[in-house]
């Protein structure tokens, strides 16, 4: 695990141990009997964008709240800027976007921003915050009159208005439509261009792929893989072939290069390292094969495979990350 993380750092930028701005070290966090985080080691380096990727309930929000000092771990060490996350000095240098059920609805956009800006020593000018978040025209609107996407942008504005060095974004684009999501991505990228360090959590795999230098996949409280988006994808490289055929699952499984076959409604879904030889063989065996589709295994596939593997095998993380890499996928 650590090996993978460091490798990716080396390939991206020189890794300096002192450049870690936020870290979780051997973190265990329980809610009663539920083990929300189990032995999590995780660090964010200055200037990078890290995505914590995982399904709902994986422990992403818990990790963010620990890093914000809103919770304490049962064991392990949380460090932000080399100190305690609850240190008010650190709060001056961090901005946070959390999932909120209800924000005071009768205050206007500019009023919310004005109040939060006041908390900081050197806030961005209001006009700049509004421009950076595309809220200029909405600044006089009351929060309650905004759409979901606009509300997320206000919460984002509150996170950045203090011009913090480190941004925690918990599911920044959850519930947004495609266009609103892209707008927010652009805004996050702009913050990165200004030299900010960003930790974002997401269960949108595409989002991690689009924004992050490094991705940590988290499932059931454990980090099961870390690396660049490319590395994560490489872990389950390959293509997905879908077709309607009279061939049996068992016989398709015999074809060289096929790693997995599933029946999906009327069609077969075949995973293969390379598509072309498998397709050639399929067409040779079944001349009436139809509905052929080939897609590359995106981060989504990688993610599913990774989480399924860890769930199926109950493997420990070290073994997983060290031996998983070139291992051919077993059929299910």
């Amino acid at each position: 695990m650590i090996a993978v993380a460091e490798e990716s750092q080396l390939s991206q930028r020189p890794a300096q141990p002192d450049s870690i701005v936020a870290s979780l070290d051997g973190i265990n966090k329980n809610y009663g009997d539920i083990r929300a985080l189990r032995g999590v080691d995780f660090g964010v380096h200055a200037g990078e964008v890290v995505a914590l990727l995982g399904p709902n309930g994986a422990g992403k929000t818990t990790a963010v709240k620990l890093l914000l000092g809103l919770m304490q771990p049962n064991s392990g060490r949380v460090r932000v800027f080399g100190g305690d996350p609850t240190n008010p000095e650190n709060r001056m240098r961090t901005g946070a976007m959390l999932q909120v059920g209800k924000v005071p609805e009768t205050l206007r956009v500019r009023e919310h921003i004005d109040l939060f800006s006041t908390y900081y020593e050197h806030p961005m000018p209001l006009a700049e915050v509004l421009a950076a978040t595309g809220l200029e025209k909405l600044s006089d609107r009351k929060f309650g009159d905004l759409s979901g996407g606009q509300r997320q942008r206000v919460l984002f504005a509150l996170a950045i208005c203090g011009d913090p060095d480190l941004l925690f974004l918990d599911e920044p684009t959850v519930g947004l439509d495609v266009e609103a999501r892209r707008l927010l991505w652009d805004e996050i990228r702009r913050m990165v261009d200004r030299g900010k360090t960003v930790l974002l959590t997401t269960h949108y795999l595409q989002e991690a792929d689009a924004l992050a230098d490094r991705v940590a996949v988290i499932n059931q409280g454990e980090i099961i893989a870390q690396g660049t988006p490319a590395e994560i994808k490489a872990k389950t490289s390959g293509k997905r072939i879908r077709c309607i055929t009279s061939l049996s699952v068992a016989s398709v499984r015999q074809i060289a290069g096929v790693s997995d076959v599933k029946e999906d409604r009327e069609a077969l879904e075949i995973h293969a390292v390379e598509a072309e030889p498998v397709v050639r063989e399929l067409l040779a065996r079944d001349a009436r094969l139809s509905g052929l589709e080939i897609t590359s295994a995106g981060l989504e596939e990688a993610f599913l495979a990774l989480t399924q593997d860890s769930a199926r095998n109950g493997i420990n993380r070290t073994e997983f990350t060290e031996s998983r890499h070139p291992r051919p996928k077993e059929t299910q």
Binding site: K65, L68, G69, L70, M71, Q72, P73, N74, S75, G76, R77, V78, D84, P85, T86, N87, P88, E89, R91, M92, T94, G95, A96, L98, Q99, V100, G101, K102, V103, P104, T106, L107, E111, D114, L115, F116, T118, Y119, Y120, E121, K142, L155, L158, G162, F168
Partner: protein, 271 residues
């Protein structure tokens, strides 16, 4: 096990006094604006005492007397505390329960906001709205009820009632820490309305059954209204020091309970 437990209480941010003052003032300003624009708050909580006053003090009994005091004057001393209590309980408990339960307080806590500013804003805002209700009662009484008294007495009554908002803000904070975001408003009403009745805020205390009159002595609104009535005329002639002591003790108890809630929240999040 965890290394970072109590840093919160020790570490502080070095801010200039003027910056700190600005934060507190803005926190109060926006808390005030937030509530002012909340129909639920202004239209119901603040206007109920005024409506009652108009109906029972100006329309129905305007020319009657209670003890040597005209009804419109007397009722300022009862609907005043009634309005103060509503403004303060709803101004603190409802917002706190919602902010706590629905995540907004966490966003604020993750920011460098001085934690105390949040509570001070709620308390001061409740005092401001309490003052508005009392002023409105006086205005109605003077304009339509023939209420006449030296300005100094009116100012004393106003000051007393505004300070009298504190016990109920403290009670609201305590409630806000133990009520859920949705259960807070009904819970407040469940306490607010019976307590007001039993304290003689709706029907003058001497017209209530003896048992209720006994109970009233244990209720903070009774003591606040007796302080106000003692100024405008028509009080029970008990020593006002006793009333202040009861209110002060009640405030301390409520703040103690609120503190337990605050710590329970911290531990839930920090433990």
């Amino acid at each position: 096990m965890s290394t970072a437990t109590l840093a919160l209480s020790t570490a502080r941010i070095e801010r200039s006094p003027s910056h700190t003052a600005t934060i507190y003032l803005k926190e109060i300003k926006y808390e005030f604006l937030k509530n002012l624009r909340l129909r639920m708050y202004t239209a119901s909580v603040l206007s109920f005492p005024l409506m009652f006053y108009v109906l029972f003090g100006l329309v129905l009994n305007a020319h009657q007397m209670i003890g040597g005091t005209s009804v419109p004057t007397y009722l300022i001393g009862t609907y005043g505390p009634f309005g103060v209590m509503g403004a303060s309980l709803f101004g603190t408990a409802a917002g706190l329960a919602s902010d706590r339960g629905l995540g907004w307080l966490q966003v604020k806590r993750a920011s460098p906001m001085p934690p105390f500013a949040y509570f001070v804003a709620k308390i001061v805002t409740s005092m401001i709205f309490s003052g508005f209700v009392v002023l409105a009662l006086f205005a109605l009484g003077v304009l339509f009820g023939g209420v006449r008294m030296p300005v100094l007495l009116a100012v004393r009554a106003l000051g007393t009632l505004v300070i009298g908002s504190l016990p109920f803000s403290a009670m609201g904070l305590a409630l806000g820490y133990f009520a859920g975001p949705n259960s807070a408003p009904p819970m407040i009403n469940l306490i607010y309305l019976p307590m007001s009745f039993c304290s003689g805020l709706w029907v003058p205390i001497m017209f209530l059954p003896k048992v209720v009159q006994q109970i009233a002595h244990a209720l903070p609104p009774y003591h606040l209204s007796q302080l106000a009535l003692g100024i405008v005329g028509g009080g029970q002639h008990e020593p006002s020091a006793t009333h202040w002591e009861v209110l002060a003790a009640f405030t301390m108890i409520c703040l103690g309970v609120a503190r337990i809630g605050f710590q329970r929240d911290q531990e839930k999040m920090y433990g």
